[in-house]
Amino acid sequence: MNLRMSPAPHVYSSQSTRALMLNVIIALLPCAVAGVWHFGSGALTLILASTLSAVLAECLWQKLAGRRVLIGDLSAVVTGLILGLNLPPSAPWWLAVLGSAFAVVVVKGLFGGLGDNFVNPALAARAMLLVSWPKYMTAWVAPAGWNACVDAVSAATPLASPGSFTAWQLFLGDVPGSIGETCKLAILLGLAFLLLTKTVSWRIPVTLTASAFAFSWIFGGDPVAAILSGGVLFAAVFMATDYVTCPMSAAGQLVYAACAGLLIVLIRRYGLYPEGVTFAILLMNIAAPLIDRCVRRRVYGHGKGANAHNG
């Protein structure tokens, strides 16, 4: 008899991994299109390089490790696409390739593959690239169409020079920033699609954004600019919602997203980096199992007080 073991949760659903991942890819497309619209050929090269190398790395790793090759589940495409959209448009292509390989092999593969990684692979890869090659990961160009990266007019992001962009510019993404995170309209389109197809629930994106809004207001910042600048919205929709690394319980997801919002504001205000989204969500990924443990309801007849009668 061939008994199979698969990671929890063991829930039957009509939605396969492949179908869910396909939904996420479709939801990411508006962001990709907006990124290429604003940042041109450089952005397109990076998105393609990171996606292709993520799939290639997954295929090679699974072959080398003697596992079944599961690139058909499209999870590598999602990881590569998200990483590509998280890069500054002027980054060199090899940065995307290295980041994708790191995400797929080190963060996901070495820990056992999809479902066993304890942090989001794309985010961990972005953090790796940020601390390894800060020169490229903090260089921004102005959104100037197809030749934006060729002309490479360097520019400060809204986080580095607050107040220099209107809320409308921030919303449409006509500002310097990572490829996929600048156009909030495209992100909201993606979110609408994910909600309509029930790929993600509203809890994490809404709570995280609301939390970042509230805490930046409490700490004396401009709350509207805070959630429209940097990667808050993109991360709230596409990265904090990663099934593998967020808490499973509904209450846990609320706590997780609220804490992530608080951490983002704290790192932006007091940290060394102008943007804190990557590190905030990575930290909350690590805390996710703990949160699930804390909010779990006590099973009747077990736990504290259960043995009061039989000593």
């Binding site: 199979r4 073991m5 080398l64 490790a65 003697g66 596992r67 079944r68 080190v106 070495l110 790796m128 601390v131 390894s132 090659w133 800060p134």
Partner: protein
């Protein structure tokens, strides 16, 4: 608790065990703190490894000599006292003759006194065996630790600076990966090497995993 079986009492076997099968850093996970903190370059790794190996050898010999006199709960403070004495000597030697290396290793030289590798070998090997066996075990473990630290240091120096032992290896166009020079890079490197050692030691890399799916 792990005890040494008889075949490891032969000096040759003890050496092989210390470097490969029972490598203190990459198989037993002992002495991780200095391994992560100072192995930014191959030279640092080599220096730290050799200093630890010398303190380990002296401590093991002393503990083995004194093994009839100490027993029970008083033994661990005694082991620490002995290793602290030799660590102090090691620091004076380093400060006197290798001031640059001493400066690079910093606080981790006096901390050799509380390296768990030394405590572990004193408790598990030296306090239960004769001088020869204790010496063979200490030399094997010391060489294994030195080799592992040098390997970690060389790889981190290569990736983080493009050089090994200060000599440029990679072309000048190489963009160093700064993460490798940070403590986080040390964790990653030690973890990856542990995986490689485990795969090689069990000699069946990947087979177990393919059975799972």
């Amino acid at each position: 608790m792990r005890t040494m079986d008889d075949r490891k009492h032969a000096p040759g076997e003890a050496l092989k065990y210390g470097v490969l099968g029972g490598n203190p850093l990459l198989r037993l996970g002992l002495g991780l703190c200095p391994a992560l903190a100072v192995t930014v370059t191959a030279m640092n790794g080599l220096g730290m490894g050799l200093a630890t190996a010398c303190v380990l050898l002296c401590t093991s010999l002393t503990v083995s000599t004194l093994r009839g006199l100490v027993a029970g709960r008083a033994r661990v403070p005694l082991f620490l006292l002995v290793s602290a004495v030799f660590a102090a000597v090691a620091q004076m030697i380093l400060a006197g003759w290798f001031p640059a290396l001493n400066g690079a290793l910093g606080v981790f030289v006096p901390l050799i006194a509380v390296n768990c590798l030394i405590l572990n070998r004193a408790d598990e090997a030296a306090s239960r065996s004769g001088l020869m066996t204790a010496a063979a075990d200490a030399v094997g473990m010391g060489l294994g630790y030195t080799a592992a630290l040098t390997l970690v240091g060389a790889l981190r120096e290569l990736i983080g600076r493009g050089s090994v032992f200060g000599a440029a290896i990679l072309p000048s166009g190489y963009e160093p990966m700064l993460l490798a020079a940070m403590p986080a890079g040390g964790f990653l490197m030690v973890g990856l090497l542990m995986g490689v050692f485990r795969a090689v030691a069990s000699g069946r890399s990947g087979k177990k995993e393919s059975e799972r799916t």
